[in-house]
């Protein structure tokens, strides 16, 4: 695809014209490259954004050239930008924790000789933390929509939408991981018991094959009872874990339902840029009309009349007072 970079030419004209306009022109620190689509000098406003914000893909070309031009309007971003940054930081943390959780799941599922209770606890803690983070992010996201400042409401809405989409994908990933872990747990539990019983059956058959039938019966029961008790305890513990995982799955389902209202459906008319631009124009016009109407009703209102009358009365009384003082 062909492109053409006109920046060098533009800069040349700009400098020439600046020298014409004001003789003392500062030298510009231009470092333009003439490759098509190449990165120009980017003024990185260090106060605004954290450099490690990467929930949107950044290019590898990013340079942070701090130019010493008198940046005319270095405005501070409004307060909600901080909230949105907090949310994105939370989501980053949740992502790293999810990676850890995946590892812990894998370790717990591996057949081990120990009891594996530490693993279970670590998994529980991690799961709780992640659910907590996601819930907090969601609450903050709701808060973001409450505040109503007119100026950049569009920007805020769009930020909210994009954060909501990311949050939804994160929660879905989390849930999928949990459900696969659940499934594998169940498989393992059944498999273990099934294998256990099977092996024992075979074992008992082979050992007691040569004995009488009576003897076989008694021995089978005793050995099996202890094994059964152990596997029962095991089963109960596994059930508890599964219940906990199911509970967190339910919580997440709740979050997802709330979020799905905020997220745009892809491929519909709401996802079209021109539709949104038109709507903004229409709603701005509507707002303007409403404002005009409000102004008119206010002017016509009795309040203004009353206030004027009262003020005039006050003046008259003051004059009377002064006159009284003078005459007496």
């Amino acid at each position: 695809m062909a492109t053409r970079n006109r920046t060098p030419l533009f800069r040349k004209y700009r400098d020439a014209l600046r020298h014409v306009r004001a003789p003392a022109g500062a030298p510009s620190a231009s470092s333009s490259s003439s490759s098509p689509g190449g990165g120009p000098a980017v003024v990185e406003m260090a106060s605004l954004l954290r450099p490690d914000r990467n929930y949107a893909p950044l290019s590898t070309d990013e340079r942070s050239l701090l130019c010493s031009r008198g940046a005319a309007t270095v405005g501070l971003p409004p307060a909600w930008v901080d909230v949105s940054e907090e949310i994105s930081a939370n989501m980053q943390r949740a992502k790293t924790k999810m990676a850890e959780l995946a590892k812990a799941h894998a370790k717990a599922l591996m057949p081990s000789f120990g009891d594996g209770r530490d693993d279970q606890r670590a998994i529980e803690i991690l799961t709780h933390e992640i659910t907590d983070l996601l819930k907090r992010s969601e609450k903050k996201l709701q808060k973001l929509s409450m505040k109503d400042s007119s100026e950049d409401s569009n920007v805020r809405k769009n930020v909210q939408r994009s954060l909501a989409t990311d949050l939804q994908t994160l929660s879905m990933e989390f849930r999928k991981k949990q459900s696969t872990y659940l499934k594998q747990l169940r498989q393992q539990k059944e498999g273990q018991d099934g294998v256990d019983l099977e092996m024992n059956m075979n074992g008992s058959k082979s050992t007691f094959e040569l004995e009488d039938d009576e003897f076989e019966d008694v021995g089978f029961t005793e050995v099996q009872m202890s094994k059964l008790k152990k596997s029962e305890a095991f089963t109960r513990e596994r059930e508890r874990e599964i219940e906990q995982v199911a509970q967190s799955v339910n919580e997440l389902a709740q979050i997802m339902k709330d979020l799905s209202v905020l997220v745009i459906d892809q491929g519909t008319i709401v996802d079209r840029i021109d539709y949104n631009v038109q709507n903004v124009a229409a709603s701005v016009e509507e707002g303007y009309k409403q404002l005009q109407k409000a102004e008119r009703t206010q002017k016509k209102g009795g309040m203004v009349m009353c206030a004027t009358v009262l003020v005039i009365l006050i003046f008259i009384l003051i004059i009377l007072l002064v006159l009284k003082k003078i005459l007496f």
């Binding site: 990165g39 309007t73 769009n158 989409t165 999928k176 519909t268």
Partner: protein, 478 residues
């Protein structure tokens, strides 16, 4: 040669090198170009949190200095003026300017002059000056393009701006594709000649450096043809999905406006028909109406089956699966509703306006011969109450184009009947059409009845009955 990824690439490159929160500022035409290929959710992913048009009065709005502005405009003088106003009172921290076509040097100078606060970080030309509707189909959305039919003396500046826009659009297509084509044009048409010559001058002389690409084995061909050489095709009623929707309801920039129709559900009042985003549409775009109906029915059956199976919740697992698949489910539901609404509207219109009959007559007028039978058919349809005005006009036009010279008396009769039946359309329109695209003006043998061999063949064919539904095929001659 796929057009949509080209524009998407351009937009990606515009947005990827700039970090932080961005605002995208477009002009009324680039809004259309961008919205066809890029969706709002894609923009949000690239951290573009606001989209504005250049017209919005910039001085009254507060400054949002935590945003960086990316301007994507056409390089017209209007836009340059508006940009001057923006630059003299900048609202954003930085400005990155991208123009969709070749800038002239005076324009760059004007911009350099007005950039006193030095907010402009880069100016680039990204040649995305066309609206890529489908992978192999683009339009320039020129709204007054009837102007090319009038003689130049009527409106020279209008004609000039039309030609300029056409040349700019074509140049940008080839720059995006990185090819320099061989240009051929239709000899008999002045407009075609003018556009071809201006394009060739641009590509080979004025900006030959820009167009100097590596030559590939099969070089591209630009063929400039005048529509007046085949006036029959646009007049026919269409029966393939995309063409039919455009004919009956109207598609603009892949958007269909269903607001005037009564039975449309609330959320389907404006829908998007895009081959890229909608799989069903991509498969069925060129299917004829009958097959389309069957496919829609099959889609609805599949969806009902899916929704029924997901409604019985046996355990928490089922519920969890349903919740996790809910976005997909909702999307499919929306898609199915959309296509069902469209197809039902169209079949209602076909019923009301008796389009089957009308189309049959149209096809006969276009392909078969037999003047008397055609006259009978057209008269009877003109008398029919349910045929709409525009269809009546079309029938008379088709008859006039075919049998212009054969029996002027009957043609006059049809004109009178048309004038008496429909208040809106007068016979002057038909006469204008004949003047522009009549037998004398056309070069090719549109109806295949000029030379002796064809006449003989037609006479022989007239003896047997042809029962194909749509025997008309478009004429592109070598």
């Amino acid at each position: 040669m796929v057009l949509i990824p080209l524009i998407r690439d351009y937009i990606d490159r515009m947005l990827q090198d700039i970090s932080g929160m961005k605002v995208l500022i477009l002009d009324p035409q680039t809004v259309g170009m961008v919205s066809v290929v890029y969706s709002q959710s894609d923009l949000l992913r690239k951290e573009v949190f606001l989209v504005e048009t250049v017209d919005d009065a910039s001085s009254s709005r507060a400054s949002m200095a935590h945003l960086k502005a990316v301007y994507f405009l056409r390089p017209s003088s209007d836009n340059v003026q508006k940009l001057r106003r923006h630059l003299s009172a900048p609202r954003f921290a930085e400005c990155h300017l991208f123009f969709s076509n070749i800038l002239k040097i005076p324009q760059i100078q004007v911009l350099a002059d007005s950039d006193e606060q030095e907010v402009v970080q880069q100016i680039q030309e990204f040649y995305a000056d066309f609206c890529a509707i489908d992978p192999f189909h683009f339009t320039l959305n020129i709204h007054n393009n009837h102007i090319y039919m009038l003689p130049t003396v009527v409106d020279p500046p209008g004609m000039q701006s039309f030609c300029d826009r056409a040349v700019d659009g074509i140049a940008s297509v080839f720059l995006a594709l990185k090819r320099r084509p061989v240009i051929r044009y239709q000899r008999t048409s002045d407009v075609a000649k003018r556009i071809a010559q201006e394009t060739s001058r641009l590509m080979y002389e004025q900006e030959s450096g820009l167009f100097d690409f590596r030559r590939t084995e099969n070089s591209s061909l630009l063929l400039v043809i005048d529509r007046r050489d085949d006036p029959v095709t646009p007049l026919l009623n269409q029966w393939t999905y995309q063409a039919m929707v455009h004919e009956l309801i109207g598609i603009e920039n892949n958007k269909v406006d269903l607001k005037e129709f009564a039975n449309v559900p609330k959320d389907q009042q404006e829908v998007v028909l895009s081959a890229v985003q909608d799989d069903f549409f991509r498969v069925n775009m060129f299917e004829n109406f009958g097959d389309l109906g069957m496919n829609v029915k099959r889609m609805v059956d599949d969806f009902q089956h899916l929704s029924k199976s997901s409604q019985n919740f046996q355990s928490i697992d089922d519920m969890a699966k349903f919740v996790s698949n809910y976005p997909e489910y909702r999307k499919t539901h929306g898609n199915v509703t959309k296509h069902v609404a469209l197809v039902s509207e169209m079949s209602r219109m076909v019923e009301e306006r008796k389009l089957m009959q009308v189309s049959q007559t149209e096809q006969e007028l276009a392909c078969a011969s037999g003047q008397a039978a055609a006259f009978e058919a057209v008269t009877s349809l003109l008398n029919n109450e349910s045929v709409s005005d525009i269809d009546r006009l079309r029938l008379v036009m088709l008859y006039a184009l075919r049998y212009e010279k054969e029996s002027p008396v009957q043609l006059m009769q049809l004109f009178n009947k048309l004038a008496s039946r429909s208040a809106k359309y007068k016979s002057g329109l038909v006469q204008f059409l004949l003047k522009q695209a009549g037998v004398d003006k056309r070069t090719g043998d549109l109806y295949g009845n000029r030379d002796l061999l064809n006449i003989a063949r037609n006479m022989a064919r007239g003896l047997k009955v042809d029962t194909k539904v749509c025997p008309h095929s478009y004429v592109t001659f070598a």
